[in-house]
Symmetry: D2
Subunit: 346 residues, 4 copies
């Protein structure tokens, strides 16, 4: 089987995880090109990862005859255009979430993606490739939990990043807590239940840094959502978990319930000391989801090789952003927001 | 110190717990009278607990010169009248939740209670006397968790009782899932945060027994509530936990979070077998809250002896029912319900 | 049923637990007499517990016509003589472990006890009355774990007491680590397996306070024991658990294994903070075994009322001390010690 | 940097794990040759892993000019000869444990290995490369636990393999429970404490299959070992864990204790159902130590590239087998066995 040659755009924290997986860890793929406007990032690609072609211009990169696919890890505002350009150049696309910032723009991009059925498009909802999540999904799909009634998703970033977030909160726009943090959780809700979100109500509170109120950002938010079959979904999103990177999902069914990551256990060690009996915790997403990032890129490669679609589609990205936007709208109007069913797409 | 002589009304499942604690386990109190319309219950009181005076009429009991206090564990519909009669007879009152079924009736009863400042009135919010809850409350009050942002309360009854609930759901009226199940959780929200509930939205789903829809009952419900200081509260109430009696409370603050009863561990045993590694679970409230029932009755006795008020007041009962009613109303109108601040009372 | 009137000797830390249970908590018993050479202890008995008769002389107490039973919580060296005197005076006896300090003396005392079949004798192996241990014992007896192969018992005191132990280690004689600490664990080994110990090897190490070597005391010891049916028993005894009071028992069988107290969880709270995810721990035996102390005294009362023997006998005390002595002997001779089967007794 | 070309001998269950890591997963190495007497194994190497050279004769393989190193995963009896031949051909060696079956033979092999200081030799003690074990080792080395007093190591295979073991127990010789199962645990004892074992006593019991007595095999064994500084080590080795693959290590120090793998948690899922609250478990070593196998082979590659020695040496293998042999000898003579310090080597 021939190696799949990938070009990456964006080599920040998450970009490097993908770049290293492609360049070093995943069989059957190679990192042949890298694009960035940051010189150090291209140096790193060349010197550490052995990337042969480096670009400042994304358009130049997708014109290279030496790549079969792109991995888009650039700022979210560039995604839709970069997806379009890649597909126009007959390249498979792996794109980090979200597809884009505006619903209309995403809808157009989904149409474009759909018009290239021969090209693989995969969105970076890596949690679907985490082993604990996959184990849970199999339990749910097998009916072991019965019919689902409640799903609860927590996504709380470690406190270590909060001060820096506050400092830059005025200058940059995160897109809002829910678009920024809850989009993975929204995807999990849809993935586990196979149902769409119908109504949402969202709340927020700034306790550690009340000044966030002024810049319309949130430290911690909560939301309740009703799905089309009345299943209930609860979300907590936040930026202030002192114990680490708290990503937890609970699924309650008529025959049992389960929790994934009730504690973000870092490893199999338990410590008995003056604090009590303690499990050390994962401190950030690269640690918690290392394997998921590896698995999702492996899946991207397999999909290309086997000419099939990954189980996470552009439509999933669109719906995730729709719900995130509804949550933010609910915060803004301080009321319930209804989502209208989408019949034209899917 | 003289022994406090108590008369009990109602000797069902919960009534017997209180009766045995009063008669056998708690120093300084004695069970001198019992009232019930069920002959077997009075036989039990006389023969097993050695109660000397047994009554069919509550009015007769509260007229006995041999009791200093009453313990009301009768059906909820009788509570307000029984409280009134007891206080008129100069008796201290321990009353199971709720104070009554109708807000107006409860409000009047709270006024009556307030008009007897020399009598102790305690409501059966026993969770406040559970050692795990007290430990958590001390952590919260000491500021160890910082400012609170989210509180999550689950109260899910074991599945073992569901079939019987369904069978009788049409005949009797539970008062609705939230009044029936969530009132303890609502009290915990108010107790931990020292804040009142401002807005609520509640949802429900019948999955195991869809026929519950017809009788306007719920197997599982969820609610989100906004408190007056923007703290967010999440509730899940249900009747279908296959693993046992799931009462869990989570408190998230700016400096840390805690969970009480993340698993309803029955004891300190861990089993390693073909199922995996398992903690056995508590199966019902008498098991889980045995100590709390004991402690709360001990507190009632101490309050009488020391002429002081317990930390759970009639007003707490009123507010709990107000919120439960708002949750049910939210289910009925399928919309957010606002609670109005109460300035006249408290 | 008439109340059982009990006289207690010894009102130290453990003595007070028993005294309060008898005086205040357990139905059907009363604390009518107390004996101590410490004035404050008798003041406490009179003033706090309402004990009517207080004695400096044990002999005087057992001659009182107002007691039916004694509870012996005096220093171990007095136990055998106090048991003898009580039984001579026709009193039931609850005695804290050990029965005595010397095997020969204990053997004689067991003979005396056996010569009063109408009197109840119970030894303070309270762990047998702990709910977690009882739950485990039922699992074992029901065959749920299959045939037992290994039992592991840890008994490690909290570090908080170590410094004081070291200070007094030269002056007083603890009887050795195993007699002092492991005797409960030895009893558990015999109780769970229903087998006697055949061969033992014990080791010790002083790491925190090497000066303990000089006074022939141990901070931490370990032992391996072979039972008569080849079941293997592992012990760790120590005085230096920084996380609290670590009493743990593991039972491995052909069909499963279990652990009691794998972590000495204080309650149902889990804390998520900068340390990780933590369970607070029990810090001392009064906390961990509060209920067991209550239950064992209740059993003593029931045995008297129902004229039957408790499931922990004088013989269990004798065998426990025999094994503890063999472990100490093993430390002294640095070799395996064989225990000879005892046919004359039991 | 040039790729390291590796030839593997042995493609059974463990051999395939190494082969796939070398061929597919680890950057900087390639699997260029494979040797086996089983045709299917060579087919697999060629067709699935793309290995170009396949051999029936190990001697032929080590003569190939196209390999820089060998990975020995053949039956233990061949190891010493294969190591010798590889080194004679100037090849780096990764060898599965044990180095050999006889102490004398291993000693000679260690001498040979030492005579090739320019070649890397690494033994397959993969647990040293597991992330949980590395985390614990760092805690120990940093002094966070204080001075060590006790180390406890469990290595219990899942019950699923027991029946098959019993069937073949007469025909093949496992080398005894301790050589077969405990050698990893012995290595952990030496690694964590940096001390050698001085005295051992071992016991065993056949409960599920008493017929194992006849073929001098053991279902479950336990051992206590005294290290040269009096640190105490406890081992349990077995073949009958119904809950899965139980590898656990506990380290007790003067300032705290820790456990690695107290439960062999498979992932981050917790299940709440009729059994209680359950963590699913790892069922076999490929699952539990997948990452460790990957890491250790990566370390082998790095050592070659960086011309340095791995932290697990041939001497570690020799000492591990010495202790395992002493344990087996202890079983045979039913007494303590003393190990003599080795001054000539190391």
């Amino acid at each position: 089987m021939e190696e799949i040659r990938i070009g990456i755009v964006g080599l920040g924290r998450l970009g490097r995880i993908h770049a290293e997986n492609i360049a070093l860890n995943i069989p059957g793929v190679s990192l042949t090109a890298a694009c960035s406007v940051v010189k150090e990032e291209l140096d790193y690609a060349r010197e550490i990862l052995g990337v042969e072609e480096t670009y400042i211009s994304y358009e130049d990169m997708v014109n290279s005859p030496n790549i079969d696919a792109v991995c888009i890890v650039s700022p979210s505002g560039f995604h839709t255009e970069q997806i379009r350009l890649a597909m126009k150049n007959n390249l498979h696309v792996f794109c980090e979430k979200p597809i884009g910032l505006e619903i209309e723009d995403i809808e157009k991009t989904v149409e474009i993606i759909d018009s290239y059925p021969g090209l693989v498009f995969q969105l970076g909802f890596m949690r679907r490739y985490d082993e604990s999540y996959r184990y849970a999904k199999e339990m749910v799909d097998s009916g072991q939990l019965g019919d689902l009634t409640v799903i609860r998703c927590y996504g709380i970033d470690p406190s270590s990043g909060l001060e820096s977030f506050v400092k830059f909160a005025g200058a940059s726009n995160s897109g809002g807590l829910f678009a920024d943090m809850a989009i993975h959780d929204i995807d999990l809700v849809r993935w586990f239940t196979n149902k769409e979100v119908k109504r949402v109500w969202a709340l927020g509170k700034n306790a550690a840094y009340p000044e966030l109120d002024k810049v319309n950002e949130l430290e911690t938010g909560a939301a309740m959502m009703q799905l089309e079959d009345k299943t209930m979904a609860l979300l907590v999103s936040g930026r202030n978990a002192t114990h680490g990177y708290h990503v937890e999902t609970e699924i309650i069914g008529t025959k049992g319930m389960l929790r994934i990551g009730a504690a973000p256990e870092k490893n199999l060690v338990t410590i008995y000391d003056g604090n009590g009996v303690t499990r050390p915790t994962s401190q950030h997403f690269p640690e918690r989801f290392r394997e998921a990032f590896y698995n999702e890129m492996g899946e991207f490669a397999s999909c290309i090789q086997e000419n099939r679609n990954p189980n996470v589609s552009a439509y999933d990205g669109l719906q995730g952003t729709r719900v995130a936007e509804a949550l933010q709208h609910s915060i803004d109007i301080q009321d319930i927001v209804d989502l209208h069913p989408v019949s034209s797409l899917k």
